[in-house]
Amino acid sequence: MPLLDRTGAITDPWVRLDETAPLAARQVIVPLTRLEPDGAAVLTSGAKLGVAVGGDTGFELLRPWLDRLSLIAINFPSFTDGRGFSLARQLRVRGFKGELRAHGYLIADQLGFALATGFDTVEIDDSLAARQPVAEWLAAAKTISLSYQRDYAGPCNILEARRAARAQQNTRVAQTEPAK
């Protein structure tokens, strides 16, 4: 399955484990059910720990693990189900610094929203990638070049741009005022 970030297709160093697969890799994503029983063992082995959760996973379940997790993969059961965007934002607001990955069913037109709410990577289904190749995702994310929301990681923030424009104007005014 293709994986992409804001620059384009990337290779995936992570191994996704199911409920029973052995913990034999350097970077493993375990299902949420395995986080409590197996999380500590993964970390002791020196491997990096990731967890796969649903958008309906309560943030509280992840809170104790935040500084030990290197990746959280959030599933979107449908592209019309926006809970994953809120969970991602909640994790970023609470200081999660690792990789946030969206998987499941998002469409190209949502890449910009995913990046803005704190996702780093998106995993696309093969059949969707055939219809919406990686280039289309990148192009879709670039169509909106500005954003109004502060404190999100959206493109060129309009409020900051206005602030910068005001500061520049103030400097100009100060420079043209005669010395006293």
């Binding site: 592209f79 809970r83 909640q90 919406q132 909106i144 309009i158 005001r166």
Partner: protein
């Protein structure tokens, strides 16, 4: 009024190109019908019974003459020469072709307008009191707040795929003309005991299948906390709102099911985790927005214009219109004039190309270039000198826009109903027209006094029947249209959901029953008592005789 800066312009331009490519990608097969649907809805584009319908936002109901002319041009070029003003300060075009839509969006963008989020499961057009900035009893003009929210909610990355649609209204007055009690979030600008200005915040109101009055979540929210607090409110809804049943997905159901205390607890917890100052617009940005809404330089005039008094004396029809459609303005010598889009027997909320252009001309000459759209589907000229009112009225009369019925029984709110809408279960417009004709007599309307009839053609309640003094809900029973009457609804600061009078009626019976309800009221009212006040005093049962006579 607000003017776009270079960034606002670029933003709507980006949006136009984005939609153009989305249409192309849909036609090219990269976006399936299922994937394209929410994207086009977020641009206000519906597929209706006969054609595509485009809903254009008129943020907080404010329009300039130039914008109104563009709305007229679009109606002429791409539609059938008219547009339909809605109860949420939008205009709808009912007869469009998909391939024309990107060009229409471009024409709108050129005059600082858009159709962003006028539909879909996202934050819809931000509405406000149509008398904002000119009402005599205002704490503060709510439009700068509404504009801030317009920008903040536009393509919000987190809140564009909510469980269901989300409507926010703002008012700056005690007298609520924005219906904040029946919005997902209602905001009232208030002053606290220390004299500071902030917001009273309400949540969980709504109409539709399960009408509910909003609950107060914050009595006083400091202004600079607004965006962070709304972010917290929206996040709790986005995470916990039901997604298993679209009829239970609005925030009102969440608030009802978990209780306002628990919802508020979750919001406060989320709010506490946020850095409000990192989310808020900085003080200079607020000042920048507010500057666009500074009161204009009013002429210094006497409180009452002699020319107006003379004209009223000489022309009783004009005097009647003034007494019904003209309200008090905060500036001496000025008036707020409501232009009724409810001519007797007409389609509520429709305006033709010629009417729109005339309204634009009048706004330019007589109303400081300002127009407003109301939730009653009328147009307001908010800045008219009293001594110009007679000239304005004569111009309006020439194009059938001088109906003296604002707030009266023929000022009916109606959704488009089965004549246009793919969701409708019955026609609404013909019922509105029949009631309007029945009560056409001006003197009779005047005698009856304020009485709001609101008609919806299905349970989704776009015609606001739940909050009509008399509400009418059109349903389908065994292949026939059937109308249910509710009484006592009210969208204002005394908000109430109407109570059902009894079983469904035919369209003809409905009109007759309304006539009998009015007769009951006239027989039993105290001097000066309005219909809804009499209903509250007398109680529901007093009005049942009107229905029984229909059977």
């Amino acid at each position: 009024m607000y003017r776009y800066d270079e960034f606002d312009h670029q933003f709507v331009q980006d949006r136009v190109s984005q939609f153009r490519t989305q249409v192309e990608r849909h036609l090219g097969g990269q976006l399936t019908e299922e994937e394209f649907r929410p994207l086009r809805l977020m641009n206000g584009l519906y597929l209706q019974l006969h054609a595509y319908m485009l809903r254009v936002a008129i943020p907080y109901g404010t329009l300039s003459a130039r914008q109104m002319r563009t709305l007229a041009d679009i109606a002429e070029t791409y539609d059938r020469g008219y547009g339909h003003f809605t109860t949420r300060q939008n205009i709808q075009y009912n007869w469009l072709r998909l391939r024309d839509v990107p060009d229409i969006l471009q024409e709108l963008a050129d005059v600082e307008m858009h159709a962003i989020q006028t539909s879909g499961n996202c934050i819809r057009n931000i509405t406000a009191d149509p008398f904002s900035g000119v009402a005599a009893d205002e704490v503060e003009d709510p439009r700068p707040t509404a504009e801030l929210l317009r920008q903040w909610s536009s393509l919000h990355p987190e809140f564009s795929f909510l469980p269901r649609k989300f409507k926010i209204a703002v008012t700056g007055c005690r007298d609520d003309r924005a219906a904040i009690a029946v919005h997902d979030i209602g905001i009232r600008v208030v002053r606290n005991e220390a004299g500071e200005i902030g917001y009273e915040v309400w949540v969980g109101g709504g109409q539709g299948r399960t009408p509910m009055i909003a609950k107060k979540i914050r009595a006083f929210l400091p202004k600079k906390a607004l965006l962070a607090y709304l972010e917290a409110m929206m996040r709790v809804y986005n995470l916990y709102g039901r997604r298993d049943n679209k009829y239970k997905a609005r925030i009102k159901i969440l608030v009802h099911e978990v209780g306002i205390e628990e919802y508020a607890r979750r919001v406060e917890e989320e709010f506490a985790a946020l850095d409000a100052s990192a989310i808020a617009a900085d003080a200079e940005e607020i000042v920048r927005i507010e500057a666009y809404f500074e009161p204009p330089a009013y002429d210094r005039l006497p409180a009452r214009a002699a020319a107006l008094e003379n004209a009223k004396k000489n022309d009783p029809a004009f005097a009647n219109w003034v007494s019904i459609n003209v309200g008090a303005h905060k500036a001496p010598g000025y008036a707020i004039a409501t232009v009724s889009l409810k001519p007797i027997g007409g389609v509520p909320g429709d305006a033709t190309t010629d009417q729109m252009r005339l309204l634009a001309d009048i706004a330019e000459r007589f109303s400081l270039d300002e127009l407003r759209v109301t939730i009653e589907q009328n147009i307001v000229l908010p800045q008219v000198r009293q001594d110009d009112l007679y000239a304005v009225w004569k111009l309006l009369a020439a194009v059938d826009l001088a109906t003296a019925n604002a707030g009266l029984i023929t000022d009916i709110i109606s959704c488009p109903g089965l004549d246009y809408c793919s969701l409708a279960t019955a026609r609404s417009i013909p019922v509105a027209q029949a009631i309007s004709r029945r009560f056409a007599d001006a003197e009779r309307q005047r005698l009856i006094g304020p009485l709001a009839i609101k008609i919806s053609g299905c349970i989704n309640a776009c015609g606001h029947h739940h909050v009509g003094h008399i509400g009418i809900l059109g349903l389908e029973k065994g292949g026939e249209e059937s109308y249910q009457i509710t009484l006592g609804g009210d969208p204002t600061e005394n908000a109430a959901i109407g109570e059902r009078l009894g079983p469904g009626l035919t369209a003809d019976q409905t009109v007759d029953t309304i006539e009998r309800l009015v007769a009951v009221y006239l027989a039993k009212r105290k001097p000066g008592e309005t219909f809804v006040a009499a209903y509250r005093r007398l109680g529901h049962d007093h009005f049942k005789e009107a229905l029984n006579a229909a059977a």
